[in-house]
């Protein structure tokens, strides 16, 4: 075994004639928080979707824990141990926060149980409540997801991802659209989560990411512009040019 949890080999992703990712080879160290950064339109979300199984790449391979998982259907990723939170909030809006997470837990245990009454699923409910505690939603268990504030929905989204007990957690711009206070809370949560699992974080705010990540991959025009430790990236001339040329973030 090597110490990369996941890597892509020569991954290319095309949408019609447009190449959103071009020959991306990169690896993500086990147990670390790696951030994928780059300006808007760089291909971060596309890359994220390849890593999380939503898009099978047009070319290239995806290797998780040494196994080639290219083309594995999306629903099997959660069972492999890869979970994600989406850039756009993606929860079950009319269900309670608790039921949201309980359903996510159930996905690993009872997918085709037609007979057990839901009232007997208290064990799952307890575990769901624990995940809500972890992301700071313990006071909102019975609230309908669509009635939660934006930041709370983002937190719920992360609880949904955690519910499949992933070894690899993928987060796409978890602070998108958040107030500064909400962002601080979220950053704390991400650091906490990263302390005992591998996390890949997509973010276009370079400042936010520099302080918390151990490894960085910079995308630009669908290609890897730079890769390395935060200090190396900070001092990389090309990265500075891309970010300064693009305006403030």
């Amino acid at each position: 075994m090597n110490d990369d949890i996941i890597r892509t080999e020569n991954v290319t992703m095309r949408f019609g004639g447009f190449t959103a990712l071009n020959d991306v080879t990169a690896s993500f160290p086990n147990g670390q928080l790696t951030a994928i950064i780059g300006p808007n339109g760089a291909g971060k979300s596309t890359y994220f979707n390849v890593l999380s199984g939503a898009f099978p790449p047009s070319e290239g391979r995806l290797i998780f824990e040494g196994k080639d998982i290219t083309g594995t259907p999306q629903h099997k990723f959660a069972r492999l141990g890869i979970a994600k939170s989406f850039q756009i909030t993606n929860v079950f809006p009319e269900l309670s926060a608790l039921e949201n997470v309980r359903i996510a837990i159930q996905a690993l245990e009872k997918r085709f149980d037609f007979w057990t009454p839901r009232g007997q699923l208290t064990d799952m409910e307890h575990r769901a409540a624990d995940f809500l505690d972890l992301v700071g939603l313990h006071t909102h268990k019975l609230k309908q997801a669509s009635n939660l504030a934006h930041g709370e929905q983002r937190a719920l989204e992360i609880a949904l991802a955690l519910a499949c007990q992933p070894r690899l957690l993928l987060l796409d711009e978890p602070t998108a659209g958040m107030s500064p206070e909400e962002t601080m809370t979220m950053v704390d949560l991400i650091c906490e989560l990263a302390s005992d699992r591998t996390v890949i974080l997509v973010e276009h705010k370079m400042k936010l990411v520099m302080g918390i990540s151990q490894h960085l991959i910079v995308l630009h025009h669908g290609e890897v512009l730079a890769e390395g430790k935060p200090d190396d990236i900070r001092n990389n001339d090309e990265v500075r040019r891309v970010y300064l040329g693009q305006g403030k973030h």
Binding site: A78, R79, I103, F112
Partner: protein
């Protein structure tokens, strides 16, 4: 006890509530045969509601399951002399098989395309049965599905002479189906259906095989509609070719919408409202379709939750 406690109690004991109501229903309905129709169509709309209301997938092809259930039962009885009880199960199984095949083809598509594909596939079933004239009776339908008496051991029901006996015979089957249905929607599988309705993408990301789940739900739905068809064959003693027509598919959709899709009582309330209105209005005018259209428009525009859905909503907001 306030109103939302009351609805809570009703929901918790929903099978008993339905049972109690259906036991006395023939004495409230204008006549027994109409009450039996309500049972059969309520069950039919209930079956559709599993995919339409609970999973959020609109099918316009459920007549295929109703019709195949009816023809399967009828053909087994008329042409093969099979006893009526196993005949009903033959009808159910054939409907389930039809649903498995149609579902396998249709689940590749979503939304309106799913509705269109199921409609087209159900039309194929219509033409196949239509052209199997020797077995199905073609456009005249299948006649002679006669069940005159049912020996219960302690007593014999003369179901031709006594419409009330026939009602309770049908009710026996419908109650078992309602009990099973209630268990299914209250099971973990039931919550997966809700998850798919709420957010298919998220359900997929959580690890649910959405296509497989849809196919299974569609097939189960076909079993319930197949039973409804089988019971209708016994109730009417004939299977008209219209039971496979797309009008028949539309009926289930309308009844579910009218009563309240995705609610437990909705399909039965919808079937009851529909059939009783039809019964009253057709005695007054031949323009029932016009009234139906108007009633339907009013519901779609002003009460999109349907009768029972609106009541539940109104109570929960007080």
């Amino acid at each position: 006890m306030n109103m939302s406690n009351l609805t809570g109690t009703i929901t918790k004991n929903r099978v008993l509530v339905v049972f109690a109501f259906l036991l006395i229903f023939p004495f409230l309905a204008p006549y027994e045969a109409l009450a039996t129709d309500v049972l059969i169509y309520g069950l039919y709309a209930l079956g559709l509601n599993l995919v339409f209301g609970y999973m959020g997938v609109l099918s316009f092809g459920h007549a295929a399951f109703f019709g195949v259930g009816a023809y399967g039962t009828g053909i087994a009885m008329v042409h093969f002399g099979v006893h009526w009880v196993p005949s009903i199960f033959i009808g159910i199984l054939m409907a389930g098989l039809t649903a498995m095949i149609m579902g396998a083809m249709a689940i590749r598509t979503k939304g309106i395309y799913f509705a269109m594909v199921t409609l087209a596939l159900a039309q194929c079933v219509y033409y196949i049965v239509y052209h199997m004239g020797e077995l199905s009776g073609g456009e005249d339908g299948l006649t002679g599905v006669s069940l005159k008496t049912v020996d219960l051991g302690f007593t014999t029901l003369n179901i031709i002479r006594e419409p009330l006996s026939k009602y309770y015979l049908v009710l026996g089957f419908v109650m078992v189906a309602i009990f099973i249905f209630s268990r299914i929607i209250n099971s973990p599988f039931g919550s997966v259906l809700e998850a798919i309705r709420e957010n298919e993408n998220r359900a997929q990301a959580c690890g649910y095989d959405v296509k497989l789940t849809k196919w299974v739900a569609f097939s189960i739905s076909g079993l319930f509609c197949g039973l409804a068809g089988a019971l209708s064959a016994i109730h009417l003693s004939v299977v008209p070719i219209e039971s496979l027509h797309y009008h028949q598919s539309g009926l289930a959709v309308m009844m579910a919408l009218l009563g309240g899709m995705g609610t437990f009582f909705g399909p039965f309330i919808g079937a009851m409202a529909f059939l009783m209105l039809e019964d009253i209005i057709t005695t007054m005018t031949s323009h029932w379709q016009l009234f139906l259209g108007a009633i339907f428009m009013i519901f779609v525009l002003f009460f999109p939750r349907g009768i029972w859905g609106s009541i539940l909503h109104w109570i929960s907001r007080r």
